[in-house]
Amino acid sequence: MDYYLFIARSVTQAQHMARILANCGIRAAVLRTPVSLSEQGCSHAVKVRAEKWNAALSCLNRTQLQPLHIYHQDANGYSEVRV
């Protein structure tokens, strides 16, 4: 299944992002970022289903919670999404 990962600045920010997304009706899970995506070491991310990623981005854009990076995960692995 396709997913998008919104990389956060801290676990607290990831949790805050997940709450904001929940308020927008988007289910999101907080998890530790795969090490291959963590350029600077450990971090946390919010995972949303592919069909929700655009809505998720719009929802977050209405707040000051901007993800550090966004990655798309599919059968071929991860690719960074430039927005």
Binding site: S10, T12, H16, R32, C42
Partner: protein, 378 residues
């Protein structure tokens, strides 16, 4: 024992605090350190605590609610962020050593002490206005004196600081959970508070509300940006090096919920009523001098008094032997005593929590009266 030392620590806690702490010990590891339930449960509890504190104290973002070990820890972060060698700092004459000692440790701080007499908030605001006109880099003020319970005019001081564009640090040690403490209204740079007094959490907990960039007091692991050797730039990780006190945070969360359920206004009124009642009982006793605001409008549940010709520590000890816990001496605030003229004598401090009752005040007054009679016999 009847406990009237809530100004130091509230001893009796809501049952939910004890239960949450026991549950945390059994089920929670470190927040943010793993994708397994023990870590996730810790994350959830820590986040919930930040969120509920943010709501109670008028903060937009839970990220800016930082866990500390106590108010002193938070004040050290705030002071050492804002005050540099040569800084001009204005403080009230009622500050605790948690403020004055960190300031003392920074060389060449030029300090102005606003030493307005007790229970004159209007005059104190005017005195701060005069001091601010001389110029300042930082203002530090407690919301309530830990010795005398006097409520400081922080609303006014915050407005003055805003007008002069001077960052304000508020020590809310005696007011968090008892009076409205609002970052959105004060726009302070920092507000520091303990978790173990009016928020009914356990010892070893505190919060620093941040509205300003911060310098770290301590560096270490945060579970984030691990390859980077500088501390993360973002809060709360920037100020939270090392493993969190999860039993403490879980207890603090329940303490905050208790305060919200009961209501800050109601808690304040209850403590003021107890203290006003104690004052009425004590003012009838020969040789007792009370430090109080007549109508208790400018005073919380803290009451200091002295007894003529008696050492305050001796009276405190005699009360303790009779099962009454109060705090005697300088209460770690020699500056406040200097301002009030009690530096030599110290005071005996009665401080109530919501768990105290009028009948406990009666017993306290009766025991004190008895001790004073003993003295007469001597």
């Amino acid at each position: 024992m009847i406990y009237f030392d809530a100004g130091a620590t509230t001893l009796e806690k809501p049952e939910s605090v004890r239960h949450a702490m026991a549950r945390a010990v059994a089920t929670m590891s470190s927040p943010g350190r793993g994708n397994y339930p023990a870590s996730q449960q810790a994350e959830e509890t820590a986040y919930q605590c930040r969120s509920e504190a943010a709501e109670l104290f008028g903060m937009d973002s839970p990220e800016n609610v930082v866990f500390t070990g106590n108010a002193t820890h938070g004040l050290n972060v705030a002071i050492k962020t804002l005050v540099k060698s040569g800084s001009r700092v204005i403080i009230s004459g009622y500050e605790h050593n948690a403020v004055t000692r960190p300031l003392h440790s920074i060389p060449n701080v030029r300090m102005t002490v606003v030493d307005t007499p007790l229970f004159q908030p209007g005059q104190m605001a005017a005195d701060f206005a005069v001091a601010l006109k001389q110029g300042a880099d930082v203002v530090i003020c407690n919301h309530v004196s830990n010795v005398f319970g006097c409520i400081q005019p922080v609303d006014e001081i915050a407005r003055l600081c805003h007008r002069h564009r001077v960052p304000l640090i508020v020590d809310a040690s005696q007011s968090a959970g008892v009076l409205p403490v609002r970052m959105d209204e004060w726009q302070a740079a920092f507000i520091a508070m303990p978790g173990h007094k009016g928020l009914y959490g356990p010892q070893g907990t505190g919060l620093l509300l941040c509205n300003h960039d911060t310098h770290t007091l301590m560096e270490g692991g945060t579970g984030s940006l691990s390859r980077q050797q500088e501390m993360p730039g973002d809060l709360p990780d920037r100020l939270e090096a090392g493993t969190h006190n999860m039993p403490g945070i879980a207890g603090l969360l329940e303490g905050i919920r208790f305060v919200k359920r009961r209501g800050v206004d109601k808690i304040c009124r209850q403590e003021q009523n107890l203290t006003a009642y104690a004052a009425r009982r004590l003012e009838l006793m020969d040789g007792v001098k009370l430090f109080c605001d007549g109508d208790f409008l400018n005073q919380t549940g803290v009451l200091s008094f002295i007894v003529a010709n008696r050492d305050c520590e001796e009276v405190g000890e005699k009360l303790a032997r009779r099962g009454i816990a109060v705090r005697a001496g300088l209460q770690c605030a020699p500056l406040a005593h200097r301002t009030a003229g009690t530096l030599k004598s110290g005071t005996i401090r009665f401080s109530a929590s919501v768990f105290n009752t009028m009948s406990q005040v009666d017993r306290f007054a009766a025991e004190l009266q008895d001790i004073l009679r003993e003295n007469v016999k001597m």
